[in-house]
Amino acid sequence: MESDKRFKKLVEESKNITLFQKEKELIRSNLISLIKRDFKVQEGSVKIPYYQKLQWLYAGSLSVAKSVINNSVLRYSLSMILIFLFLGSSIVFGAKDSLPGDFLYHVKTQINEKVLEMVTFSGKGKAEYSIELAQARLEEMEKLAVGNKLNDQLSKDIKDLFNKHMSNAKIQMSKIDNKDSAIFSQINTNLEASLNAHSSVLKKISNEVYEGESQKNNIKEILSDVDNNIAHTESERYKQQSKLFSQGEDALAAESKRSFFEAEKEIEKTIDFIESKKIQVSVNTYIESKDNLQLAENALSESKSELDTQSYETSFALSQLAGRMAKEIRISMEAEANLKIKLNMPTIKNKGKDEK
């Protein structure tokens, strides 16, 4: 009898082997990514594996190389092209860090950036590249203002370019929105975080660093464009959230979990980032960054509690907020490291639950 009891206990014990909740969630989110990826492949974008592309490229290059070696006219022409390319690439490379007003700035905006734009094919890539350029214009304005070099003409040029990039980004994003709202949300979130961070950098420069009245007005003008764009990204975010919240419980649950893991990654990235920039920023900024990160972590932990109680809408809004906060901290710290000025770090707003 005793051995029967023991045997039954042993069998029951064997059933205790299960996955840990976190492991299960991770595998589930991997499967969701797989499902999403398959959808895209089935919708027509059949991709050629990179090694096949390389084979094709290799075969083509080999036949061209053989014909060049066997022909003296071609050899001479190729040498001239290489010399031209070498000189050209030096100019193109030199233009990379130029600022408005510099001799090479037009090479940067009219050649470098346009060439890169031409070789970006996907809608997502084009949208992200336009956003990258818009951010680059804001960074240029920040650098000029701190260096006391911002005049009316340069300010107008930057503002026009910024608005042009933003309008290109919006066109591409609206195309994406019709096809894949998850990618749209991701791009929109990154854009919102970046604009918020640059808005606080510009405000700080306008209020404390720069003293000339007309230049202050120039910064204020672009700030008003930046703030309008922030309002636009916010309203797009609300629209996306309403769309998501009106979908079924399963889709919402999956998206909330995905958003939670994304935010977790952003926070982890920011922890390392803060430490890596520690010596490049002031002590106050370092402490403020850590405090703000703590707030982002609190938001994430609240998001987790909401997720556990299946309040997916609140959980989603909170994890999105945590992710954006983490990104904003990185952008602001990067700006201070580049400009060597002390900035107000973005502060978390307790609006996660209201964001529904």
Binding site: S3, E13, I27, L31
Partner: protein
Amino acid sequence: MLDKNISETQFLEAFDKYSDDIFRYCYYRVFDRDKAKDIMQETYCRTWKYITKGNKIDNIRAFLYRTAKNMIIDESRKKKNVSLEQMAEKGFAPSITQPEKSEEHFMGKEILKIVESLDQKYKDVIIMRYINDLSIKEISAILNETENNVYVRVSRGFAKVKEIFLKNQSKRLLS
């Protein structure tokens, strides 16, 4: 797009419902938590690929078990499973999610030892019947065998399990 007889939602439901069972089945077949986790994940990936190619699955639970079973067989062909003794030498201890009192921990190991010492033909049915609580009908669908055959194997396998268990008991009492 190819028609799928199992939707994304149904597939994810199957994950929520059966992933622990598939994991447990893999665990008692390979005796390695990480490997069991990988096989379980790959089982679901392969199943989803099969669905997206337009193939029909009547019983997803049975299909998942079959896929896991085939993967374990492939795995053992590639590399012969390490015995419990070898794992103990390497410092391996089976992990159990419940609080591990020494007695319970010992028993967790004991069931692993018993399963390992069973003949190959009994391992699957014993794990499925007694550890994963599958019915004879379900096991027969997974193994693609008649219910009678499965029933006979379960009965014989169970008798073997008890025999090994009692032998171990008496050894322990004598030592």
